[in-house]
């Protein structure tokens, strides 16, 4: 490092900025450590409940109640020729 380009004040700035950066990291972790968590069993119970309540409307899973409601159905060829 060139001593002239890295003056005392520049060095000081670097120390301060490193400190600020570490402070941000620690503050972030403090916030994350403080959040409320629920047991996995309860969380996944709700996911399963949501899915079972919506499964009957999931066309890719259960299909269409009739082909009429399928917007991508193949057009039936004209029978009268």
């Amino acid at each position: 490092m060139c001593p002239r380009s890295l003056s005392d004040t520049a060095l000081m700035d670097m120390v301060v900025s490193n400190l600020q950066q570490q402070r941000l990291v620690t503050e972030q972790l403090r916030r994350e450590a403080a959040i409320k968590r629920m047991p996995v069993s309860l969380a996944v119970k709700d996911i399963i409940k949501y899915i079972t309540e919506h499964e009957q409307d999931d066309c890719l899973l259960v299909g269409f109640s009739s082909q009429r409601v399928n917007p991508f159905r193949e057009k039936t060829p004209c029978a009268v020729l």
């Binding site: 490193n18 400190l19 570490q22 402070r23 990291v25 620690t26 972030q28 972790l29 403090r30 916030r31 994350e32 450590a33 959040i35 968590r37 629920m38 047991p39 996995v40 069993s41 309860l42 969380a43 996944v44 119970k45 709700d46 996911i47 399963i48 949501y50 899915i51 079972t52 919506h54 499964e55 409307d57 999931d58 066309c59 890719l60 899973l61 259960v62 299909g63 269409f64 399928n70 917007p71 991508f72």
Partner: protein, 372 residues
Amino acid sequence: MENENKDCPVETIESLTKEAESLKKKLEDERQKLNDVTLATAADRLDIINYMNIKPRRTLKGHQAKVLCSDWSPDKRHIVSSSQDGKMIIWDAFTTNKEHAVTMPTTWVMACAYAPSGNLVACGYIIRDITFKTFCVQGIIFPFRGLDNKVTVYPLSLEEDVSLKKKTVGTHTSYMSCCIFPNSDQQILTGSGDSTCALWDVESGQLLQSFHGHSADVMSIDLAPSETGNTFVSGSCDKMVLIWDMRSGQCVQSFEGHESDVNSVKFHPSGDAVATGSDDATCRLFDLRADKEVAMYSKESIIFGVNSVDFSVSGRLLFAGYNDYTVNVWDTLKCVRVCLLYGHENRVSCLQVSPDGTALSTGSWDYTLRLG
């Protein structure tokens, strides 16, 4: 004040680092303590999936190069796609017709998105600035009127017409990898190679909020499915998945676990979890309320990276597009693969379930989009 906060005036890098280490350990312990069951065990009593309503239905041909991104219109009928050929195409998915093709000033149109009204599309592309040193990306918004609009006829010079109406909204210092309209046509949220996300005002082009926290390229973002919609998730090449508060700009949760770039993130329709796809060849499910990973979707035989993930409307199925040209369909609850979809002749770069859940669109480096 407690011991930990007493040292505020004399915080040193050492003290802060030490505290960070102990907080990380505390977080991990806390998460493990609540890890009382696996998702697959909890879903044990459910029926296995033995029916799948997916078959090839349409192929959209027209791009001259790799398809990089696509998005369904809220009208459940149109799709916008962007490609390395420098074009953005708006398709009628029912008829496979191209309704608009817009030429960008450059190739590599990385991102495109429909606005909630269906009248706007946005895209992000890479341009080299005059110094030829940095790549810069601009987000462009195109006012766009679909056929269902009462304005009936556009002149044949439609292409230029749409281009003239373009509007530059925001500029990142690196490429823009993804964009979405959160809740209205007035704002756009973007993710960038400069490792930040940004919220812009469409009308004024003003930066409303920027989101700092990732340490590498942001690859994907998704909005939480609630009316209030102030939460979004981002996935990055730093392997992290972050949850953000859009109003405060703060990261509220972070998930690690992936061993490589996170290429795709998607909220579960319940809003309580996010699915991710990564270059480490796995998809994972992170639960927001348990604050941890609750499932991993992988197989020993699957060794290629995942580029894109999306849920079926109930959240039971997770579709994942891979670099080995396939789409794997996972049972999110039993954590097993239910189906493998072939068809594309190159990497699957993007996929999305239509808004009403009736179809799956996939885009690929084989220049085509397919609908199933």
